[in-house]
């Protein structure tokens, strides 16, 4: 059976589970022929799904719920990532220590394109305006890399524990030079990489079965990847067509990713879901979602996969 998976970002260890499942033949064992489409900075996986370019996508829950409110009926069918890897990394020399008091008047780098929701919620809980000015923060749309921090164009930038943070360290800054705030620790964590399909897909029992086999094989891939980070990194490298990734970087990323996977067998934990929704609903004047969504997740696939 054929299945197309659209990733949220470029080929890297963040998606090692799927590549490993494919390379190790886990999909094949389940009778699946999976095509993995890498993403990119301006690919909105939700749009690809809506256009019929993919059957399943890897997406973050805030973006998925926002799309749902836009009338695109996305449903979470599995949640391999238990915890969030997002954080704000600041230069120590800017004197930022406490988010409650020190952010005002500073410039912060944020990713947009659907990744800005957790940040906006957080600022809202802190009571900071994102429109600049004395009492608020100046927001920059951060580009692809960590340069704004190195160039001191921003006091803090968004980083992922598994990726950009390592890049900042690679660039020569030491942990002492930096102050980091994990979204998990700030109580504004939202669910990251999950698997989403269109509601209509779930109405087809054959599809549900296919997805169940897919999730099962993928989770097997994730387990394998977490257990064998170096081998997983190698598999990722083989799949990287740009030839730009390095073994060192991907192996480290895999180890960090493994930490995020801990505590999940692929099934969505309803408490996590609720926390995400609550965070997003508290978006202040311009909340990400205006009402608690209905039917935004479904256990049917994981139930069939693991029971």
């Amino acid at each position: 059976d054929e299945l197309t998976l659209q990733l949220k970002w470029v080929t890297q260890a963040q998606f090692a589970g799927y590549y490993v499942a494919q390379a190790q033949g886990f999909y094949e064992e389940e009778g699946l022929d999976v095509t993995i489409l890498p993403g990119g900075p301006d690919i909105a996986p939700t749009q690809v799904l809506a256009g019929g370019g993919a059957d399943v996508i890897v997406e973050w829950m805030p973006a998925a719920l926002a799309a749902r409110e836009r009338g695109l009926p996305l449903v979470n069918i599995a949640q391999p990532f238990k915890s969030s890897g997002m954080m704000l990394t600041c230069l120590a020399e800017t004197g930022i220590q406490n988010p409650e008091t020190d952010f005002a008047g500073k410039t912060l780098g944020v990713w947009f394109s659907g990744n800005e929701y957790p940040f906006l919620s957080w600022m809202n809980t802190l009571g900071l305006s994102t429109e600049g000015g004395e009492g608020g923060v100046t927001v920059l749309k951060q580009g692809f890399n960590v340069d704004p921090l190195l160039q001191k164009q921003a006091a803090c930038i968004s980083t992922m524990t598994y990726n950009e943070y390592g890049q900042v360290l690679d660039a020569g800054l030491s942990e002492d030079d930096l102050v980091t705030f994990k979204y998990e620790d700030q109580g504004v964590a939202t669910l990251e990489d999950g698997l989403y399909v269109l509601e209509s897909t779930l109405e087809d029992d054959a599809m549900v079965d296919r997805l169940a086999r897919f999730v099962r094989a993928s989770m097997k891939g994730w387990e394998y990847a977490a257990a064998n980070p170096d081998e997983a990194a190698e598999i990722v490298l083989e799949n990287d067509e740009t030839g730009a990734q390095t073994m060192e970087h991907q192996a480290r990323m895999m180890r960090e990713i493994a930490l995020l996977l801990e505590g999940s067998d692929g099934t969505l934990d309803e408490a996590d879901y609720q926390r995400t929704v609550d965070t997003l609903l508290s978006g202040g004047s311009d909340p990400v979602i205006s009402a608690a969504p209905e039917g935004a997740w479904s256990p049917v696939v994981t139930d069939r996969a693991f029971n």
């Binding site: 890498p38 900075p41 370019g53 660039a171």
Partner: protein, 304 residues
């Protein structure tokens, strides 16, 4: 009047003669020198910060040598870029994904396809515009508008939409390239096809030549200088279009993907190597068109 315009047998054409070597080398030398100075200046801030963090004092020569050997410089030094290029080109098997030749080839094929489509479209539209008032009045404003659509915004949508109807691979990129390259051809060709002056057209009229004849024997030949000038711009534009198409296409292969991943991981040397590879590619393509231009025009007695 027009034969006089083209009547400049003694005017020398820009061509690479041995005599050009000295000026080119001089200018190159100046550029490289400025580049080195710039690299030192722009990279120095970081080294000073690092030194301050480590609490050491840097001598000037230490500072200079460090600024020129950074792993992720703000501005890589020329020799770093040269090295990156060299490794990308000669250090790998051409089929390797780390080979710039391979990526350049991926980009080139889409560029040429897009350039072909764009040029054909531009010429066809220009011919229509010159011959039909309806087309002139209705197409031109919308052709202009089409160019103001931000392609980088449209590109992912084009790719998504095409993918959803099953078109993937080279064609989506080529379409974006064509989108960018048809416009210069259109503008230049419209101008060129309208260049013939009153007397030249009157001659044709006095022979009561049909429109096709006027086109083939008058408008087209007089438009060729304009066409070639436009083609040079168009092929560069097609390359830009392809690279833009490669950026959001999920960073698979091609120079655009190299640029993106370099940018994503802050590997400035890789960005610059890809950039130079693209520029070399463009320069070669432009030079190639220049060569064709010279052969064609000199065969037509129009070479200047």
């Amino acid at each position: 009047m027009t034969d006089a315009v083209l009547n400049a047998p003694q005017a020398r054409r820009l061509r690479l003669h041995t005599g050009d070597l000295l000026p080119i080398l001089t200018v190159l030398l100046v550029i490289v020198a400025v580049w080195y100075l710039g690299a030192i200046r722009m990279n120095a801030a970081w080294e000073r910060d690092q030194a301050a963090r480590a609490g050491v004092q840097l001598t000037t020569s230490e500072l200079v040598s460090r600024t020129l050997t950074q792993d992720r410089p703000v501005l890589p030094a020329p020799h770093q870029v040269a090295q990156g290029l060299w490794e990308g080109v000669a250090g790998q098997a051409v089929t390797s994904r780390r080979s710039l030749v391979w990526h350049a080839w991926v980009t080139l094929s889409a560029t040429l396809a897009g350039f072909g489509i764009g040029t054909a479209l531009g010429i066809v539209l220009a011919v229509g515009i010159v011959h039909s008032r309806v087309m002139d009045l209705s197409v031109m404003p919308w052709a202009v508008a089409s160019q103001t659509v931000p392609i980088l915004a449209i590109a992912p949508m084009v790719i998504v939409v095409l993918a959803s109807v099953g078109v993937t691979g080279l064609l989506p990129k080529a379409i974006i390239a064509a989108w960018l390259s048809f416009f210069p051809v259109l503008v230049g060709m419209v101008k060129g096809l309208r260049t013939p002056d009153g007397m030249q057209l009157d001659l044709m009229r006095s022979w009561s030549a049909p429109k096709t004849r006027v086109f083939w024997n008058l408008r087209l030949p007089s438009s060729l200088p304009y066409l070639f000038a436009s083609l040079k711009v168009a092929i560069a534009a097609a390359l830009v279009g392809t690279i833009v198409g490669e950026l959001p296409a999920g960073a698979t292969a091609g120079l655009g993907a190299r640029l993106l991943s370099g940018s994503y991981y802050g590997q400035t040397v890789q960005i610059w190597s890809a950039l130079f590879a693209a520029a070399i590619l463009a320069a070669v393509l432009v030079a190639l068109i220049g060569l064709i231009e010279r052969t064609v025009l000199s065969r037509m007695g129009l070479a200047r």
